[in-house]
């Protein structure tokens, strides 16, 4: 790899032993993938590791080593959601004990994050690119992000450039302020090798569509056509939310780091089908294909057909528009059914900045929601379910990502609404 004199000085140890190890990590990682040089990181960093799990001791020791050497991230960063928020989502007495054991280092780790350059107390969200949070890279920015749903959003919807990095590498790159130039950072790496044709009769469910694409293309780049017929051309808040959820599903059922959508995402708007590699493969998605994907989701509950304990909505975190939409839908459905409360407690997961703004702007509505058993929380539902005691609970969700990594059962939005109101699971739906 071609390094600048300054980079070489760091690598040879002239700027200290610990910074040398940081640079050695970044360079070795880059060389493994044939990177020819390092590029300066131009957007704000985002880290995936937000949890103080007792088990990842070597990581905390490494962070201590960095802090003791006086190293910080070049720019302030955001980070994934916290694992616990007891005043908003109380898991129960025994479950709390388990949480405190599993995430026993949370307080200490948040102190470490602050020393490294955490943006602020509200910086904990997987959707850092939402306007209220404000970590929004611009087209062409180089990044070293690692949260898979944020990586695919930054690359595809914002046109920024980041590889799908692992936890730890994100921080190493942010400390030296450089990322190795390979993969999705290069023009060649952003070319599509799949043409995905959408031929559904109505707007496809974003989660199922992403799931289907992810399972088919795995880590490749798809160029999606036909979605503009359902979403319209160009980007707007509704389309951005749709693409956020679709992308998260492509990244969890596959390892997609970038997709292009014809007439919608920035590079597809600019370059059109010239983004397609000549020897691309084709994948057709129609109503039957999505029904097949949905029907194949495994049911991991030990007892099926029981009333769920929770409805979880918002993995990745909900945009403000999505939060408001869900609240309207739930409150309307309660009124229509002349009910005061939902039958299954509903938890809406969103960024701390959005939660805070909603509570401040609509204090009366917020109190009414609590009386309806509808809650707004900022934690990561995945980490909630990583607690073995919580993971055993029957939980339903409209998130394919949450379904993929936990025992939560997936249902479509209308089904989820109906479950929340009636407490009954639909028959012949929700996987096999």
């Amino acid at each position: 790899m071609q390094l600048t004199p300054e980079e070489n000085d760091i690598l040879s140890g002239k700027k200290g032993e610990v910074l040398q190890k940081v640079m050695k990590t970044v360079v070795t990682y880059g060389e493994t993938f044939g990177a020819d040089h390092l590029v300066p990181i131009s957007g704000s960093p985002h880290l995936v590791t937000s949890f103080g799990a007792n088990t990842i001791k070597p990581y905390f020791e490494m962070i201590d080593e960095l802090i003791n050497a006086g190293l910080t991230s070049k720019e302030n960063f955001t980070v994934d959601p916290r694992p616990m928020e007891y005043d908003k989502l109380n898991p129960g007495f025994i479950e709390k004990i388990a949480f405190n054991l599993i995430f026993g280092k949370q307080k200490d780790y948040e102190v470490q994050l602050k020393k490294l350059g955490l943006k602020n107390k509200n910086a904990f969200t997987c959707a850092c690119y939402l306007p209220e949070v404000g970590n929004i890279p611009v087209k062409g920015d180089y990044l070293a992000w690692s949260e898979s749903s944020a990586v695919v959003y930054a690359n595809s919807v914002l046109g920024a450039r980041t590889n799908r990095n692992s936890a730890g590498i994100d921080l190493m790159c942010d400390i030296v302020g450089k990322a190795p130039h390979f993969g999705l950072l290069t023009d060649e790496g952003r070319k599509a090798t799949w043409l995905v044709e959408i031929k559904t009769s109505t707007r496809p469910n974003a989660q199922l569509l992403g799931s289907a694409i992810g399972m088919k293309v795995m880590e490749d780049v798809p160029y999606i056509v036909g979605l503009d017929a359902h979403l319209g051309e160009g980007l707007n808040p509704t389309t951005e939310s749709y693409l956020k959820d679709m992308g998260a599903a492509t990244a969890s059922n596959g390892a997609v780091g970038l997709y292009h959508v014809e007439n919608i995402t920035p590079e597809a708007v600019e370059q059109g089908r010239s983004l397609l590699n000549p020897n691309y493969q084709t994948y057709l998605i129609d109503d039957a294909e999505l029904a097949k994907v949905y029907a194949a989701y495994p049911i991991l509950w030990s007892i099926t057909g029981i009333r769920p304990d929770y409805v979880f909505i918002g993995c990745p975190h909900l945009a403000r528009l999505q939060l408001e939409n869900w609240i309207d839908l739930l409150v309307d459905a309660l009124q229509k059914n002349k009910l005061n409360k939902v039958s299954v407690p509903v938890y809406l997961f969103t960024a701390p900045d959005i939660q805070e703004a909603y509570i401040n702007e609509k204090p009366d509505t917020y109190q009414a929601l609590l009386s309806h058993n509808i809650h707004i929380t900022t934690i990561c539902p995945l980490m909630f379910m990583n607690n073995p005691l919580c993971g055993k609970k029957p939980i339903v969700t409209n998130s394919n990502k949450l379904r993929t990594y936990t025992t939560a059962r997936f249902y479509t939005d209308p089904e989820i609404l109906n479950i929340a109101i009636t407490g009954k699971l639909p028959e012949n739906s929700g996987g096999k």
Partner: protein
């Protein structure tokens, strides 16, 4: 039976001999090691119920033979952690190009934890179809793998 050899790219070179543990589908690092990391168990048993090849098989001290790793981007962190606990495989062999998550994990374990997993990648698609579970493999530091 004559031995068969494969030549790959040594990413973290070394010499060792051991028993093959073969996953013909992508290896989900988090799902596979989650239980043994939480319990800090001396022996790591694969907890990925979606991986029929190696589910509930012991991974400690084996030579893990996989196409690539898949799953959560915390995968690298998991490899770094099992390196410290000492319940991981002694070597990881990839039939394809190593993926970014595994690369990060093994490199960070090597540089920050002074623990080296021997890692060879790009052994080719025939590699995985040529090995059976439990066969003895010999690895040399130039990236040559001999199935004995």
């Amino acid at each position: 039976m004559p031995s068969k050899t494969f030549k790959g790219r040594p990413i973290l070179p070394g010499n060792c001999e051991g028993e093959a543990l073969v996953s013909r589908s992508g290896f989900n690092t988090l799902a596979s090691f989650q239980k043994s990391v939480i319990l800090r168990s001396k022996k790591a048993i694969c907890s990925d119920q979606n991986n029929a090849d190696i589910y509930q098989k012991e991974m400690t001290g084996k030579i893990l033979c996989i196409p690539q790793t898949i799953g959560s981007t915390t995968g690298g962190l998991v490899l770094q952690t099992i390196a410290k606990i000492g319940n991981g495989p002694k070597a990881i062999l990839f039939s394809e190009h190593i993926d970014s998550l595994a690369a990060a994990g093994v490199i960070m374990a090597d540089i920050w934890g002074n623990h080296r997993f021997i890692v060879v990648d790009q052994l080719g698609p025939d590699f995985l179809s040529s090995i059976e579970q439990g066969q003895t493999l010999k690895i040399t530091e130039d990236g040559t793998i001999t199935i004995q």
